[in-house]
Every structure is written in structure tokens, then in C-alpha cells.
Symmetry: C2
DNA sequence: GTCTATATAGTGATAGAC
DNA sequence: GTCTATCACTATATAGAC
């Protein structure tokens, strides 16, 4: 397949996003230059502006894409009993976050580098995700399956605990992700039941 | 007290650190210029270099100061029973971190902006703090007061959960810090007992 | 679509006057 | 100890050639 020199936009766009994701996660949004992203992709800095209007939008698109994907993947089935729904949430959260450490890192660390408008949009998505877990806890309390004094606090505590796995877990370590998940589930289960 | 114009080093040093702490927490190390710090203090940029050899050292000193203070304040009494030691740890961690949100934020967010040598020193301090909690859990397991499958995992889970309070708690909200602490203690207690 | 070149502004750090 | 002035770079973003 001959390719016109200087023309391969169909793949450059995703490569820009991939490079930005990796570099932002490693060095931080403010410390990573557009030139560095361009060098990672293998183009000159000016070429990036065919794919994003500016650096801020590039960051926002990465974060919004991650949060949207998270919300779409977090399927809950209210027909199941609350314990099973919570169990699935715990396993899903750990697995999903472990699979995309760079995006998770950026979604938590770069919030302050968003414009106020962009920040509000990301926070709304995060709030919607938290609402999903809180609904499980509320239903469990209503069914007298859980004992939780304040479902909002329990929601935030559980999510913080689970997301923390990403900061230390490495494949090939002492425990598998499945073993880690089982232990977190046991702690969560005891904390609310 | 007359003061020689252009000479008040006894207070400028702490003010440089305070300004850097506040600005780094708000905007991020990479995004905050030495000129911005100087403006906050009320001096010119060049004057900052009377108090720090460079920007990196300024960041490191803030983080090391915070971690050293944390370790010094986290007093444990092995003579007490494990449940009481854990209760005190939970209350201490939440209270200490709530009192210095900027330093806590920097200590978690700016690790990647440290040189490798400085990073290692901060991580060693963090590890020492975690060891304190893990020792409580181990002693509790040995005394059959706690049921914990893996004390290292439980340590990381508990610290992540407790530190998360800083991301959402605001004085004057629906609950007081004491009420929040009581609820977190209840969740931690159930998770390990 | 990508290049080179550039406009405009900001960066960390230093030198020397006072 | 702080100031002004400056060095040597780097930044984001754009213009116009190809």
C-alpha cells in the first residue's frame, strides 16, 4: 500500500491521543510540551493542531473519553440482590481501572489543569459514576442487607479505597489481581454488611 | 521597631515556603513560576534564591517537612490493645491531614516532579508511616483481635480510604469532622475485626 | 496533512548595584 | 537582602510553502 508522503491522518489522530495520554501521565500536563508530544508521534509540533485546537482541549478530550467509557462500562443490574451488585461493582472497578492506569492517573491528577467549564463537565461524570455505587448501597440498606449509616460517605470511602489499588499493584508481584480483588471485596463486604 | 528597608530575612524565608505551598497546591509545581511565588511574597524573583538554591529543592523541602512532621506526630503506644491503637490511628490520620490540605495534596500529587533521589527519600518516609499502621494490624492479628488476610493490603486500603476524606470534606457541610471520623472508624473497624 | 519559520510571551537562574 | 537587568531557553500557537 503506497502512501502519499506527509499524508496519513487516519492514524495520526489516535496516535496523538495515545502519546499525550502516556506523556501526561508520566510527566504531568503542565510539564509536557506540545513538541514532546509531537516527537513521540513522529511529527512536528505544528502538525498536532490538525487534531486538536489547543493543548487544553487535548487534555479535556482524554479525560472526558475516559469518564464516558467508565460510565458506559459500569453496568448495574437492579434485579440482582444488593450484595451481588456490590460484589460486581468492586470487581469491575478494580479491573477497569487496572486496565488503564494512565487514563485513571490523569483523570485524578489533572483536574486542576482544566478550565472551570471543562472541570465542571468532568466532575458531573464522576458524580454520575459515584451515584451508581450509592444507589446499590441505598437499595442494600432498604433491603436490610447492608448496615450503612451514611451512603454518601460509604460511597466515597469505598471508591477511594478501590482506586488506591492502582497506586501500588503491579502484575507479577506477590499477589494476582484476582487475589487482591478478593481481599478488597472481603473488606468492603464487612464494612457495609 | 524600625526595620531596614530591603532587609527582613527572618520572616521572608517562611513566607516563601508558605507561598510556594499554597501556589503549588493550587496550580501544580510545573505550572507555578518562581515569579508567581515572588509576587505572592511581595519580592522580586531573584530574591527567592536567598532562601532556596532552586525550585526543585523548594518542592522537596516542603514535602520532606510535611512527611517528617507526619511521622513525628504519629505516635503509637504498643502497650494499648490493638483496637484502641487502630482507633487512635484513624482519628489521628483524618485530623492531621484535614489540618494541612495543601501539604497533603502536594505530597501526593507532586511526587513525579521530584528528582529520583528526592523521590526515594520521600517514599522512604511514606513507607515508614505505612509501617506504623501495619504494625498495629499485625499485633491485632497476633492477639486474635483482628481478622486480616494480608496486613500490607489492609494497610494500603485503610490509608487510601482515610486520605480520601481530604478530597471532599469541607467544614460547615452536612457533617462535622468528628461525625465523619466516627463513620470512617466504624467502617475500618468492621473491615478488620 | 505536514513542513519550516516565526510571533509573542514566559521560564529558571545569575550578576552586580545598592 | 533585595533590587534591576539580563542570559539562554522554552513555551503555545499560527502562517504560508509544498
Amino acid at each position: 500500500m503506497a502512501r502519499t508522503a506527509g499524508s496519513h491522518s487516519d492514524i495520526t489522530g489516535p496516535r496523538v491521543r495515545d502519546a499525550a495520554l502516556r506523556l501526561f501521565a508520566r510527566g504531568g500536563y503542565a510539564a509536557v510540551s506540545m513538541r514532546a508530544i509531537a516527537a513521540e508521534v513522529g511529527v512536528q509540533a505544528g502538525a498536532l493542531y490538525n487534531y486538536t485546537p489547543d493543548k487544553q482541549t487535548l487534555l479535556f478530550d482524554l479525560m472526558e473519553g475516559h469518564m464516558t467509557e467508565l460510565l458506559a462500562a459500569a453496568r448495574d443490574d437492579p434485579a440482582l440482590d444488593a450484595r451481588e451488585r456490590l460484589h460486581r461493582f468492586v470487581a469491575f472497578h478494580i479491573r477497569f481501572h487496572h486496565a488503564r492506569p494512565d487514563a485513571v492517573f490523569i483523570a485524578y491528577m489533572e483536574l486542576r489543569n482544566l478550565t472551570p467549564e471543562n472541570f465542571a463537565r468532568i466532575e458531573a461524570l464522576r458524580g454520575a459514576y459515584e451515584d451508581g455505587l450509592e444507589q446499590i448501597l441505598r437499595d442494600g440498606v432498604a433491603a436490610e442487607a447492608f448496615r450503612v449509616e451514611d451512603t454518601k460517605i460509604a460511597t466515597l470511602a469505598i471508591i477511594a479505597m478501590l482506586t488506591g489499588v492502582n497506586t501500588w499493584f503491579r502484575t507479577g508481584g506477590r499477589l494476582s489481581l484476582e487475589e487482591v480483588t478478593a481481599q478488597y471485596w472481603e473488606m468492603v463486604r464487612r464494612a457495609v454488611m
